[in-house]
């Protein structure tokens, strides 16, 4: 394998790692907290919100926004490190 290819493979592996971790969080806040664990979480309250309900109608969406911006930052750094930035 040429150096170019090695670099590309390493970059891709790192990218996949980021994606998997972020998607795990994506799944946890929506399908996990908002749906599967909703009834259990509803016994906790923040303000007037039952927690499971809050995740389903508010919290999950906030986390989604944060996830994308975290990915943008991570990838911009990674691009720079591997010299793929423009």
């Amino acid at each position: 394998m040429s150096d170019q290819q090695k670099k590309a493979t390493a970059y891709w592996k790192k990218n996949i790692r980021y994606v998997l971790v972020l998607l795990a969080i994506w799944f946890t806040v929506s399908f996990g907290a908002g749906i599967l664990l909703k009834d259990a979480l509803n016994s906790f309250k923040i303000g007037g919100f039952q927690l499971g309900f809050w995740f389903a109608q508010q919290g999950a969406i906030y986390v989604f926004v944060v996830l994308i911006f975290v990915y943008v930052r991570l990838m911009n750094k990674l691009d720079k490190k591997y010299g793929y930035n423009e």
Partner: protein, 565 residues
């Protein structure tokens, strides 16, 4: 000034603005027509994507749907936002790097096959047409309710406006009008929401007001009050909902994946300059969408509580003026079954006397909360902005599918740039006319099918694109059979359980795995993946050159301009 005058004024100003932008940003080349020249900034693209995405349904109907389904409405909130995470992480950067004009472009080239391209074009057309008809209808409905013109006249006015800027400006015109439309629609949605939140809870931020205590000195949380009111009348508690967990799960997944697979959303990411801009503009788009999507459930709670407080067990003769106004439009129906002159709003259908249309929650909200006339007019302008921006985005997908994917790449590869541009404009015109026709004569199945467009997108495009990026060895045989089986299965399930085209619609207990047609896209998507993977095992690998393309799109640098081919 009266509501009527305000409405004419605001709608007139916004329409003049859209037309002005269209003239300023005419498209001169096919590249400008399809992808706005490829130099849109991430912020502008984010705003355009948000307007493109938020349709008449998001603006007018969603808060009402949530108000009447409580927790069950979460499927739309999570489903229609979570898809952007998939877009940003799994699709947008790679499709931008690939650097072509349309989604069928990617499918056709990655799977080195005209058949794949044609299958993708058919899927894009099915998805986009089902969606666009609903938008034109939405334009007509807003016109008729706020300006007292006939629905059909409304549809025709909407057609002319869209025709003007989509045909003249192509993607370039659409992009910059969508930026303006985003501003109009978000302002129009937030102003009444903030007013009402202040009125009911004293908190100006609706997202917080939703979880706050009511402003009447009782120190009760708003949501607790609403739960109490709902159960008293025999409904499920607002925060519990009535759907099965598996169905909630399946619908949410289908909407998320469907969002990520909708061609008119994906194509927006072809318009930015660099791969990193594609990621960033997905983030901006979701942020801008989230403003509306986290406000809508708050509006739902305010409006539902307000409605129950105002009408439930109150004398009909004492109803405020807005009640009579909306009765005239048929969105509110009161039928005094026990002849006691009092409105009984109950879960039990045999005793319930009040029927409320979902849409009223957003449309009548400013009146219910006694807000000034200009706020009511603003809602009309916002609803039109939402419907027009989505319609324009869809029309562009339809016209580029025809002129670029079919004419240029299949039937007549020698067509000149000028000829292709003309073909695109003619295709856009025809598409507007067809969409307008469906808006005026909506086939009974349109309303049902719009919700299912997501299932269709999930079942067809999503697996083919994901496998094309993340699995180098995926070949054309696998991808094509996956798409055909996926969309076929989804169409079959829709026809059987939703549209009743295959004899009487079977009872819900016959649903496969307890999953409704709205959620079945998740199952069809899984089947698409499985079929594609199995078939690809038993058929020849893709050519080396294609495998190299796949490796190349994984590296962000050198995206360059979209190439003609």
């Amino acid at each position: 000034m009266s509501v009527q005058v305000w409405t004419y004024l605001l709608v007139g100003i916004t329409f003049a603005l859209y037309i002005g932008i269209a003239i300023w940003s005419r498209a001169g080349s096919t590249k400008e027509f399809y992808i706005a020249g490829g130099g849109v900034s991430p912020l502008a693209n984010g705003m355009a994507t948000a307007a493109d995405w938020m349709s008449a349904a998001s603006f007018i109907s969603m808060a009402g749907i949530i108000a009447f389904s409580g927790y069950d409405g979460s499927v739309y909130l999570m489903g229609w936002t979570g898809g952007y995470v998939l877009l940003a992480l799994l699709l947008a950067p790679y499709l931008r790097k690939f650097g072509k004009f349309t989604v069928p472009d990617f499918i056709g080239e990655r799977y080195y096959s005209k058949t794949a391209r044609i299958v993708a074009v058919c899927c894009a057309l099915i998805v986009s047409f089902t969606y666009v008809a609903g938008q034109m209808r939405g334009v007509g409905v807003v016109f008729s309710r706020f300006l007292q013109v006939d629905i059909n006249t409304g549809v025709i006015i909407g057609m002319i406006i869209v025709l003007f800027y989509a045909v003249l400006g192509g993607m370039k015109g659409i992009t910059y009008t969508q930026v303006a439309q985003y501003c109009v629609l978000i302002f129009a949605f937030m102003v009444p929401a903030i007013f009402i939140s202040l009125q009911m809870t004293g908190n100006p931020i609706p997202q917080l007001g939703m979880g706050a205590t009511i402003n009447d000195g009782s120190e009760t949380f708003l949501l607790d009050r609403l739960n109490g009111l709902s159960t008293e009348l025999g409904f499920a508690a607002y925060t519990d909902g009535a759907k099965d967990m598996i169905d909630i799960f399946a619908i949410t997944l289908a909407l998320m994946v469907g969002t990520a697979g909708l061609p008119h959303v994906i194509v927006r990411f072809f318009t930015v300059k660099r791969v990193k801009d594609a990621r960033k503009s997905a983030g901006i788009a979701l942020l801008l969408i989230a403003i509306l999507y986290t406000t809508a459930p708050a509006v739902a709670v305010f409006a539902k509580t307000n409605l129950l407080n105002t009408v439930s067990n109150k004398e009909y003769s004492h109803m405020p003026k807005w009640f009579k106004n909306w009765e005239d439009t048929g969105l509110l129906l009161f039928e005094d079954k026990n002849q006691d002159g009092i409105i009984q709003y109950l879960a039990d259908n045999s005793k319930n006397e009040l029927t409320v249309d979902n849409d009223i929650m957003v449309l009548a909200n400013p009146e219910i909360a006694k807000l000034p006339a200009w706020v009511i007019a603003l809602v009309a302008a916002g609803g039109l902005a939402a419907a027009l921006s989505t319609a324009a985005g869809l029309l562009l997908v339809i016209s580029s599918s025809v002129s670029h994917d079919l004419i240029k790449n299949v039937f007549n590869p020698n067509i000149s740039e000028k000829g292709e541009l003309w073909a695109a404009r003619i295709a856009a015109t025809l598409a507007v006319i067809v969409a307008g026709y469906f808006g005026i004569h909506p086939p009974g199945f349109v309303a049902a099918v719009v919700a299912l467009a997501f299932g269709l997108a999930a079942a067809s495009f999503f697996p083919a694109i994901i496998l094309g990026i993340f699995y180098k060895k995926m070949n054309k045989e696998g991808a094509v059979s996956g798409m055909i089986v996926g969309i076929g299965l989804m169409l079959y399930y829709m026809a059987k359980f939703k549209l009743g085209w295959l004899g009487e619609i079977p009872d819900n207990s016959n649903w496969w795995f307890g999953i409704s047609p709205e959620g079945f896209g998740s199952v069809a998507m899984a089947v698409n993946f499985i079929v594609a993977l199995i078939i690809s095992r038993f058929t020849p690998e893709p050519p080396l050159q294609v495998q190299e393309i796949t490796e190349n799109i994984r590296i962000p640098s050198g995206a360059g301009n979209a190439k003609m081919h």
